[in-house]
């Protein structure tokens, strides 16, 4: 069944990179869109009748299945920025083929996510799906990606390990991180450097639970003791009561998983109650990331977190990336932009290596491939297609930049290899 593309709908934007320098971009891409849209529609219709493959001419199509509205809009935009910056650097072409990008808004909703993924795969004949941000959406679109089998899936943010455990898809490549990576490796470091007993505090939903479980298991394995566990509902307004429970646990350190506005509310209340003086705050990197630190400010000083990317990282590769990003978008690069950038790198090198956009050939080219990322180079694990990457322990310190505080890397864990969760694609 081929549906007609919806013209001019608000969450729909087509962007041809060859046209980007053109001043009257919107008219041209609209006209281009009408033309190619009709062509693709017809091609798809014929293709559908003949049951043939989805190779559509010489152009490469990248479909963004990302949230562009709502709470996660900033994440979606950053991923697109990173991806398009890499394309610009390549002159808008990969392996001599023009790249076209299509945005679809998942609204971080599972049903909508499945719909837009299907649209991108069937109507737009996308060669790659970039996204989503939400793990719930990622789990929901696994079936579609697998059954269509027409595109590579560059997972630029959704970190739930169950995508590997339950899905274990040949087309899935995580260009971001998984929830094990941002929690478990920190356990041993905390045990050796901070305390031998911790309290676990987490946002009570799948990702928060996964993170605290991974950390808890690894911490006990290292010889430490979990004194207490405190779960707060997602979107809690006031953390006072939970902080009371954390304080009365008497632990010397706390490992926390909160993100976004929850992280802001939690960290400022933590400092408010003076808990900073009684215990050391540690957590997954999203507790203290570039999108929350400006609001957390000095309340976050001295807290430790674990993530695969930090804009303040002092490597030449990263400095260049941060500078280019600033001149292109007039803002500081963040972890999401880096994940978008690396998705583009993976797509490009995969195409160049295999000389084809066929997802099966792309997949075997990408498996085990090394990506020269701003975060430090990483490799896709042959068995799971998870990134084998450096993880960085960061401490929040005073900064003389535009924000009062920033993350400073205090320890680098090299090429952290995670569990395979029974997935073997090699």
């Amino acid at each position: 069944m081929v549906r007609k593309p919806t013209k001019g709908s608000s969450n729909y934007e087509r962007n041809s990179h060859r046209d980007r320098s053109n001043s009257d971009q919107s008219t041209i891409s609209r006209r281009r869109y009408l033309r190619t849209g009709a062509a693709v529609g017809t091609a798809a219709a014929i293709g559908g009748c003949l049951g043939g493959s989805g190779e559509s001419g010489d152009e490469l199509t990248v479909g963004y299945a990302l949230p562009f509205t709502g709470t996660y809009a900033m994440l979606g935009e950053s991923i697109v920025n990173g991806f398009e910056m890499y394309l610009e650097q390549q002159g808008g072409e990969i392996d001599g083929r023009e790249v076209e990008t299509v945005r679809r808004d998942t609204e971080a909703d599972t049903n909508r996510g499945v719909d837009v993924t299907r649209e991108l795969l069937i109507e737009e004949q996308a060669d790659a799906i970039v996204g989503p941000v939400s793990s719930a959406v990622a789990i929901a679109i696994m079936d579609t990606i697998e059954s269509e089998a027409s595109a590579i899936w560059l997972n630029a943010n959704a970190g739930d390990y169950r995508i590997t455990q339950d899905g274990c898809l040949d087309y899935h490549f995580r260009t971001s991180f998984n929830d094990w990576q941002t929690s478990a490796p920190l356990a041993e470091w905390v045990y050796e450097n901070i305390a031998d007993n911790v309290c676990l505090a987490y946002a009570d939903y799948a990702f928060g639970q996964n993170s605290k479980n991974f950390f808890g298991e690894a911490f006990e394995e290292a010889g430490g003791e979990i004194v207490s566990e405190v779960g707060a509902p997602l979107g809690t307004d006031d953390y006072s009561t939970y902080l009371g429970q954390i304080e009365s646990s008497g632990a010397d350190a706390v490992f926390s998983f909160f993100a976004g506005s929850d992280a802001v509310g939690y960290v400022s209340a933590f400092a408010d109650y003076g808990l900073n003086e009684e215990m050391t705050q540690t957590g997954s990197g999203f507790l203290l990331s570039e999108d929350t630190l400006p609001a957390q400010g000095e309340a976050a000083l001295g807290m430790y977190s674990l993530l695969h990317y930090t804009p303040a990282q002092e490597s030449e590769r990263n400095q260049t990336f941060v500078e280019n990003y600033r001149s292109a978008y007039d803002s500081t690069a963040n972890v999401y932009a880096c994940q978008g950038y690396d998705s583009a790198q993976a797509f490009a090198t995969g195409i160049e290596e295999s000389g084809s956009a066929d997802p099966d050939e792309l997949s075997s080219a990408l498996s085990g491939m090394e990506i020269d990322s701003p975060r430090g180079s990483f490799r896709f694990n042959e068995q799971t297609h998870e990134p084998v990457q450096n993880m960085y322990v960061r401490e929040v310190v005073q900064s003389d930049g535009e924000q009062p505080v920033e993350n400073q890397v205090v320890e680098t864990m090299e090429s952290v290899e995670g569990p395979t969760w029974g997935c073997d694609l090699s």
Binding site: G70, T71, A73, M74, S240, D262, S268, D272, G274, A295
Partner: protein
């Protein structure tokens, strides 16, 4: 254990009094204008955003606390005069649709202007740190919020109960035509009530924005709680709203202590029980204000 209970009680009273600022405005607007104002949460959120912008631009929390609610009041004037006024006396469904529309528009505008990232309102140094209250240490800022909210609620109550303006307000709610015939411009009174409600919501926004986080979801979150409070207290009753706000504040903070995942359930359970025993709420129907 005692520590936890003392702390939860303090938190419950404090958040109850701040919630009362929001619920009081909501119930006054309903009691006098017969309008169910779904945009009230959005006005609360606007207060927080205005506050955070002013605090950043001018570096002063006090200026934010003073100016932001007034700016929200100006938005309130605009909403009342240009959109609500033509709809008075019509089916309440119109008011609900209109104000719900405003809530969505304001939320959309906030995301467009300030993005989806959470912000904060920086507090003055004199309000940071903790104060030892015997068994527990409690943040100075939260004590300040408790005091200022209580004072404001007391002030509003006095104004409604004792001042001439309060008498006119209550009279307008009771019999609009008669007050009009006596030579008082009722439409101005209505605008005044709506603006008062907006200012109180804006104030709560600044006060809470500085101890929680300022984000685009905060308005939708608080409006549910505020409605539960207004329903429990009795639609239109100021006294009821304040009492119910304290009750909800305490239930929420004790609930978080015992069963964090069930606090919402407790909230609505309480509402159901109150409505079964007293269908008009604690102070509903029998009194106007």
């Amino acid at each position: 254990m005692i520590e936890s209970i003392v702390r939860a009680t303090l938190l419950g009273v404090q958040s109850g009094m701040t919630l009362a600022l929001i619920a009081a405005g909501l119930t006054l607007i309903f009691g006098m204008l017969d309008v169910i104002n779904f945009a009230h949460g959005a006005l609360y959120m606007l207060g927080a955003y205005f506050g955070s912008v002013i605090a950043v631009e001018f570096g002063s929390f006090w200026l934010a606390l003073l100016l932001a609610p007034l700016l929200v009041g100006v938005v309130g004037i605009a909403i009342e005069m240009f959109s609500l006024r033509p709809l008075y006396g019509r089916n309440p469904l119109y008011h609900i649709l209109l104000t719900f529309g405003f809530a969505i528009m304001i939320q959309g505008a906030v995301v467009q202007i300030w993005g989806g990232q959470a912000r904060q309102i920086a507090r003055p140094t004199m309000l940071t740190g903790t104060l030892s209250l015997g068994v527990v240490n409690y943040p100075v800022y939260r004590l300040f919020v408790l005091m200022i909210s209580t004072a404001l609620i007391g002030g509003v109550w006095l104004a409604i109960d004792r001042s001439d303006l309060g008498i006119i307000m209550r009279a307008s709610a009771h019999d609009t035509e008669m007050v009009d015939a006596l030579g008082i411009d009722v439409s101005k009174v209505f605008t005044g009530v709506f603006v008062l409600g907006a200012i109180l919501a804006g104030l709560a926004g600044v006060l809470l924005g500085a101890s929680r986080s300022v984000n685009p979801g905060m308005g939708m979150g608080i409006i549910i709680e505020a409605f539960v409070i207004v329903v429990i207290g009795g639609l239109g009753s100021f006294r009821g709203a304040v009492l119910a706000a304290l009750l909800i504040g305490l239930v929420t903070s004790y609930g978080a202590l015992i069963a964090p995942t069930l606090t919402d359930l407790l909230l609505f359970g309480l509402m159901a029980v109150v409505l079964m025993v007293k269908p008009n709420g604690l102070f509903g129907a029998t009194e106007a204000a």
